[in-house]
Subunit: 199 residues, 2 copies
Amino acid sequence: MSQPTSQRTRLSPEQRREQLLDLGVRLLAHRSLDELSIDLLAEEAGISRGLLYHYFGNKHAFHEAVVRRAADDLIEQTSPPADGDPMERMLTSLAAYLDYVVANYEGYLSLVKAAAGGNETLREIYEEARSALNSRIFREDAQGDIVPDTPATRLVVRGWSAMVEELVLSWIADPRGITREQLLEIMAASLPAIVEVAG
Amino acid sequence: MSQPTSQRTRLSPEQRREQLLDLGVRLLAHRSLDELSIDLLAEEAGISRGLLYHYFGNKHAFHEAVVRRAADDLIEQTSPPADGDPMERMLTSLAAYLDYVVANYEGYLSLVKAAAGGNETLREIYEEARSALNSRIFREDAQGDIVPDTPATRLVVRGWSAMVEELVLSWIADPRGITREQLLEIMAASLPAIVEVAG
């Protein structure tokens, strides 16, 4: 997992911080936030704890920065293709979301828990990311082919998004009897189905 | 809110404990778990803190007992009528769930947070209650009129149940544009709709 950290490479402090954040995000993929310590990052990066405190201030600030980066990655990686049928584009985006959570299960689960459990800053980052993903549904589907934009459908998308998260986390924990394609189809097709009953 | 605590009433220790639990559940309705202290219960019940420690051991055990009682109440109050059309019975059960969360919003929200946030005992109580509510869908619909019992529909019901919780909590926080009847209709009708796309 460790990233080569040659002392010969001259990086600006900002570049160095970015590199350390990337490493933090990679370490978080298979660990909970509780397990992501400054000590571990120092060991994996091959630099001193003191230098990390210089870059991040304290453990909380480090966690916040890593989680913010992870949320940005999630939003970027789930960006739908620019063209194509709205349902196909949503399916591509959902598949990317599923792949992201599969690849970053431990860290993602711990973020969901931390956000729900009352860490206010992490909750804000989580809610912002959720909100960005939910708003994208409406932005990407500006003609309302899948979901017309009404107070009821805004609420429905919030609920559907909670369902998608639960389905993905439950399926990863126990995928018996459901293929990846079935899961994706259930998640994608359920949105217009719920919107229809909400109509 | 306080329950009359006449010293003339002779209650067994078990009855007294039950009475205190009922009071704890009522106090939790409009408070978070963090706000539900032994001191508050002592004041409301008009008895000494020492006696409460005698009944409950410590604050954690008190919270566990109150949350367990609240979960039992939720399961009991959302029990569907014995007879009738499966969808009608589910709608009645969902309406009772909505009313329960409306009436106990602060406490319920804090339980969801505590359960998600890593308090293991509260998480178990929460998961048991969720699981009981989800299993009831299949038990009450033994003919599979709404949901046939398959691995895919077991997963779907988990997801739908997460959606219902999110819809209820979001709607209570901001009900603009959606009536109670619309919300209930969305929640009830979405289950067969999602099951159909999962078919």
